[in-house]
């Protein structure tokens, strides 16, 4: 009930609408269950009176009741639609705002596809419940009660017999939900499998042909297709068993009524009209049974969907504004890492005791292989992630976190901190305080998030552009920027020229439905975007190699324009950039292993010297030959 109850809070924000449509549904149903008694009156009183003048008003009464039922039903349905869609609109708003506020760790833990499903498919399931569920369950119950009340009013004795029908109706609703739905659920799952096998076969067709594995793949498709066929057949057959069962059972009860009613008729305790009304009323029981089984199914699905969706709303963000943020007008751009530890999922340390300081305007090159932690390190500055808040100790070269009780667990044994240290098997390990990232000497967690992030720019090698015009993408940080400012930024990013050549210049749409840009072009637009935002601190993630030489040169130029006068962290393999950096930080498995200038590190002859060799190895060999040949030619 919990999640549905929370979901219901949304329609309850507009109580008049919500209860209005339920009341309207009740009134409509009441008119509906009254109609058989009009039949009975016509048969028992009007016809024997032989007065044609009486017949018209009674027939019209029947039509009137049907009409009123329809009118109130329409109002109820429309009210339900309004209430549901308004609720869903508000729910989507809440969800989206929640998504926007989430920190990146949340996005890492949840796959994009699943998040999208939570705001679309799951929300649609909940909407279905809000449109139909409440109304249908409510009407089902009202009609069930109403029908029996009417029966009782006509003939209490006969009604007793008709209570047989009650468990039938109830059992049907439950059994259908219990037996048939799971099979259909399985059929949907198998269908999903089939379609992903088919998708692989179509998308990977060239590889399949090249490895001549057509037969094997064909078998795989056939098997998935067979499995789906078999479970779908079972599902539809089960439905075929259940669906006509309800009318059949009510038919059997009508047969019972024919006998019992006939006996009473002969006894004189039942009239024709009453009998006909009873037949009609039994027919009406079909609706509650259908509605209840339908309602239960919707309830189950909506409940599961709501659980997934509310997870998004409930997920507590760890990264939030401080209660009393530091007021700043501008920053200088000094950055310091102080004993920084960090891990995405708690156990593995991505960063392990990183400490170094960067002065305003300096360029820092971060060097290291995949998983060395260099990208993670840069993400701590704008607080896309936060530094691990627990104190740590080092024991046998590994770093361990202390929990809130100052306790550390190593190989199943627990040790407690005392006087700032922990003794493990005779080794005394000093407790290190939790790490910090400082900007201008102040912990980044003291700034307001927007204040901090506005002053830090990130340019990724494969940047994300929005489905919008080039202009809107460049002016992303400052939508009020003038055309001159935008063009100036584009020029500095070496992007103006190619933008001008696009079919609609700055108004060309980029993204899925727009023009296709090359990686280099996208990167330069992202550089322009960062230039216009004018951050004090810059993070360049440029770890992969670009394609053609012309573009490479343009990007290099653009990046140089961008870096000028800003504290820059650059993740790159470009030797020219690394050599020109004020500081080179070599990382390995989350630790800083070497730090210094190019010359210092080369002289040290350590890891950097090795990397330097790797980086230049292939190219150097080629280039030495080439350069000689060029000179000769």
């Amino acid at each position: 009930m919990g999640y549905i109850w929370r979901l219901t809070q949304y329609p309850l924000r507009h109580k008049r609408l919500f209860f209005g449509f339920l009341v309207s549904a009740t009134i409509g149903t009441a008119f509906n269950v009254l109609t058989p008694s009009v039949l009975s009156t016509i048969i028992d009183s009007v016809i024997p009176s032989a007065d044609p003048a009486l017949l018209i008003p009674y027939s019209l009464l029947y039509l009137g009741l049907t009409g009123l039922y329809s009118v109130f039903d329409i109002i109820a349905r429309y009210g339900a639609v309004l209430s549901a869609h308004r609720s869903i609109y508000e729910l989507r708003q809440d969800l989206y705002e929640a998504l926007m506020e989430k920190d990146l760790a949340f996005y890492d833990r949840n796959e994009t596809g699943q998040l999208i499903a939570r705001v679309t498919t799951d929300v649609t399931t909940m909407r279905e419940f809000l449109v139909w569920g409440y109304r249908v369950i409510f009407m089902g119950i009202v009609q069930l009660i109403g029908t029996y009340v009417m029966m009782w009013l006509i003939s209490p004795g006969l009604t007793m017999y008709m209570f047989v029908a009650l468990p039938v109706v109830a059992l049907f609703g439950v059994a259908f939900a219990k037996h048939v739905r799971p099979v259909f659920f399985r059929a949907r799952q198998m269908y999903g499998r089939l379609s992903s096998v088919l998708t692989e076969n179509i998308v990977g067709i060239k590889i399949i042909r090249s490895f001549t594995s057509e037969d094997r793949e064909g078998q795989r498709v056939r098997r998935a297709n067979e499995e789906y066929r078999d479970v779908a057949t079972r599902a539809f057959r089960l439905a075929a068993l259940y669906q006509p069962l309800l009318p059949a059972l009510l038919g059997v009860i009508t047969g019972l009524l024919v006998y019992v009613g006939g006996v009473r008729f002969v006894e004189g305790s039942l009239t024709y009209g009453e009998f006909v009304a009873f037949v009609a009323l039994i027919g009406m029981l079909i609706l509650p049974a259908r509605f209840l089984s339908w309602g239960i199914g919707m309830y189950q699905r909506a409940s599961a969907a709501a659980e997934r969706t509310f997870y998004v709303l409930d997920h507590e963000d760890e990264i939030r504004d401080p209660e009393q943020p530091v007021e700043i007008s501008d920053i200088q751009g000094e950055v310091e890492f102080e004993n920084v530890c960090f891990g995405y999922d708690g156990n593995r340390m991505i960063l392990d005791g990183v400490s170094f300081r960067v002065l305003p305007g300096q360029i820092v090159a971060l060097v290291g292989g995949t998983g060395s932690g260099k990208s993670s390190l840069t993400r701590l500055i704008p607080r896309l992630y936060d530094v691990d808040p627990s104190p740590t100790i080092q024991y046998r070269g590994r770093t361990y976190r202390l929990d809130e009780h100052g306790c550390v667990e190593i190989e199943g044994r627990r040790y407690y901190a005392k006087d700032g240290k922990i003794e493990i098997d005779g080794t005394v390990c000093p407790v290190r305080p939790p790490g910090r990232v400082l900007v201008d000497g102040i912990d980044v967690r003291m700034y307001r998030l927007t204040d901090l992030r506005r002053r830090i720019g990130i340019v990724h090698q494969d940047p994300f552009l929005f489905s919008a015009t080039v202009r809107e993408n460049i002016a992303f940080a400052r939508p009020d920027a003038s055309q001159e400012e935008i063009e100036a930024a584009a020029r500095a990013a070496m992007a103006h020229e190619f933008i001008e050549r696009l079919p609609e210049g700055y108004d060309s749409m980029v993204g899925e439905r727009g023009v296709t840009l090359s990686g280099g072009q996208r990167q330069r637009i992202a550089i322009a975007r960062a230039l216009l935002a004018d951050p004090r601190i810059l993070i360049l993630d440029d770890s992969t190699s670009a394609v053609d030489a012309r573009t490479e040169m343009l990007i290099q130029q653009a990046l140089e324009n961008l870096m000028r006068g800003r504290t820059t962290f650059v993740i790159t393999h470009r030797m020219s950039t690394i050599r020109n950096a004020n500081l080179i930080v070599v990382m390995e498995r989350g630790r800083v292993v070497e730090i210094g200038t190019h010359e210092e590190l080369l002289a040290a002859g350590g890891i950097y010297a090795g990397i330097y060799e790797t980086l230049t190895e292939m190219e150097t060999r080629a280039l030495q030959r080439t350069s000689v040949e060029t000179q000769e030619g």
Binding site: P52, G251, V263
Partner: protein, 598 residues
């Protein structure tokens, strides 16, 4: 920021390449394979309808005869008959559905299988013309649309038409005057149904579009979350999303209005029918020209009128969408692949790896040639790098060698045998193909490496990995070689995928290797591993490399510079640099730049 609604992929769009009759006949053809079942279904259906249609008469009999006579034995018989009919209706209905489901599901299975088989035979030009998303949609959505009809829809609807006709006939026989009065409501019912159907259809079409806008807007926001955050632009983004969901809200309210009115209105029209029966029938009852039983009979039949009419109306829309799907499915099944084995095709065996293009002319579209009079000879064991701008025809050379397309004139030979004379299978078995984007299949890393040779032992897999120097990278994955790669290898990085595709090609051990070097790239360390892997892969094979990297090109035995489908320069790296031609200008920039960096 504007959102346009895409009309291109409207699922109900028809080309009318096939007349409706043909489509229907072919679909029914898939059901008629099961003739015995089909016959049984017809018989069961007749029995089912008889039971349903006869029940009201039993009720009438009870009211008109058993009640007044007071014969309890006769009454018991009547009641039992009524109960019996209900059970009979249920059993026949169930058996009929049981058989129909079996037939329908098998028919759907067969259509899907036929389509898949055809797709597997289809030449590459077919896949170039259509996006994979569309092809997949043929296999899934379009067949589901046909399924709506085949899985009972078709037969049930005919049954409903029959029921409606029978009810009409029965009530006319029972009492002509009352029947005519009752049927007055019929046209109203039809008009209302058609009107609402049309309205609902367009309203729902609109909601489908708005929800797809919601989804794509959402997908973008999530994908771009890091950008939005780092520029602190969450508020704008929220405002944008509100606009989008407002669109969806409005469209749904519009559809909801029609939906809310539809069924109650139809039911009210049924109410009019009963009103007419009560009025006219009541007068007749007073006159004594009608029995109460007949009146009840009419009311029962009128109630039974609705569902069929709704089902028939529904059927019309289903048919439209099934036909649209069937048309697309059949048009693929009917397409002959352009590249086929000749009747007396031989298997290409013991390949040495000598390749020869002789005066080849080819274009994807009639009239625009990509390659003109193209000739190239590659010796066994030689590595040839093809360079040139986008559109120069590099990929085409590779496509033709694999015979993904047939050439217009000239010939392509392997070891002196025209590739059109050998089976496509043996040809492709001889050629290893490594694509720019390494496509992986769901399963583990090991499964993917063994893709070409599922019987390869673990030692062979390890040896392959060692050879290309990928063992360390792949074994350090979370579950080592048993790591699940995810859909299309999505859980691995680009570089890891490339290494796996090298190992996969190596294990296949082809004499000829075609390698389309990836343009997108990876971090330096993996890059290093990839370069090494590539060198090992090429060793001792005839190889054509579509090269993008200087380091790869430099190592080739021969470099071919393509421009507009012609070889403009040819030679070793040093020769070409010395020439100061196209090659020189292509790469001098990169060279100078790299030199400047040193």
């Amino acid at each position: 920021m504007g959102y346009h609604l895409d009309e291109q992929d409207d699922p109900d769009a028809r080309s009318y390449d096939y007349p409706d009759r043909t489509l229907l006949a072919r679909m029914v053809g898939y059901l008629l394979v099961y003739r015995k079942e089909f016959l049984a279904v017809i018989i069961l259906m007749a029995a089912n309808m008889a039971a349903i249609l006869y029940s009201p008469f039993v009720l009438k009999h009870a009211i008109d005869i058993d009640f007044p006579t007071g014969d309890l034995n006769a009454l018991a018989t009547t009641a039992l008959l009524y109960v019996g009919l209900q059970i009979a209706a249920w059993l026949t209905g169930y058996s009929m559905q049981y058989l129909m489901t079996g037939m329908g599901q098998r028919a759907i299975f067969n259509i899907r299988q036929d389509l898949y088989d055809r797709l597997q035979m289809m030449s590459q030009d077919f896949y170039d013309r259509s996006t994979s998303g569309r092809v997949i949609s043929r296999l899934t959505n379009d067949i589901d649309r046909m399924g709506e009809l085949l899985n009972g829809g078709l037969i049930t609807t005919f049954a409903q038409v029959f029921i409606v006709t029978m009810i009409g006939a029965i009530i006319i026989t029972v009492d002509l005057q009352l029947a005519l009065v009752t049927l007055l409501a019929m046209p109203l019912l039809l008009v209302a149904t058609i009107y609402f159907r049309g309205k609902l259809k367009s309203a729902y079409r609109k909601t489908r579009k708005t929800i797809s806008i919601v989804t794509s807007s959402l997908a973008e926001s999530i994908a771009g979350a890091i950008v939005t955050k780092s520029f602190a632009r969450e508020k704008t983004s929220i405002a944008r999303f509100n606009e989008v969901i407002d669109l969806d809200y409005r469209a749904n309210i519009e559809a909801g209005k029609a939906q809310a009115t539809f069924f109650p209105a139809i039911r009210f029209i049924g109410g009019i029918g009963i009103f007419l029966i009560l009025w006219v029938g009541g007068l007749r009852l007073m006159e004594g020209t009608l029995t109460l039983g007949t009146l009840v009979l009419f009311i029962r039949y009128t109630n039974q009128f609705f569902r069929p009419i709704l089902i028939i109306a529904n059927f019309y829309t289903n048919v439209q969408s099934a036909f649209a799907g069937a048309e697309r499915v059949f048009s693929i099944i009917d397409t002959e692949p352009t590249v086929r084995d000749v009747p007396d095709a031989i298997d290409l065996t013991d390949v040495r790896g000598h390749i020869r293009f002789r005066n080849v002319t080819f274009g994807y579209i009639e009239g625009t040639d990509i390659l003109t009079d193209f000739s190239l000879e590659i010796q066994p064991g030689e590595t040839v790098a093809i360079v040139g701008d986008t559109g120069a025809g590099k990929t085409t050379v590779v496509n033709l060698l694999n015979r993904f397309y047939d050439i217009r004139s000239g010939s392509i030979e392997i070891d002196g045998v025209d590739i059109r004379r050998v089976t496509q299978r043996s040809l492709r078995a001889a050629i290893g193909l490594v694509l720019q984007e390494a496509f992986l299949f769901m399963g583990t890393v090991r499964d993917n490496i063994r893709y070409g040779r599922p019987d390869a032992t673990d030692e062979e897999v390890i040896r392959a990995l060692d050879t290309i120097g990928a063992r360390r990278v792949l074994e350090s994955l979370q579950d080592g070689l048993d790591t699940e790669v995810g859909e299309r290898g999505g859980r691995l990085s680009e570089g890891e995928r490339q290494l796996i595709s090298f190992a996969r090609a190596l294990l296949k051990n082809p004499r000829i290797l075609v390698l389309d070097e990836a343009t997108s790239s990876v971090d330096v360390y993996t890059e290093h591993a990839i370069q090494r892997g590539m060198r090992m892969l090429l060793r001792g094979r005839t190889a054509i490399v579509i090269a993008h990297r200087l380091s790869t090109i430099v190592q080739a035995d021969r470099i071919i510079v393509l421009e507009d489908g012609r070889i403009v320069e040819e030679g070793t790296h040093s020769e070409l640099v010395a020439k100061r031609g196209k090659y020189h200008s292509l790469y001098s920039l990169q060279v100078q730049h790299a030199l400047a960096a040193r």
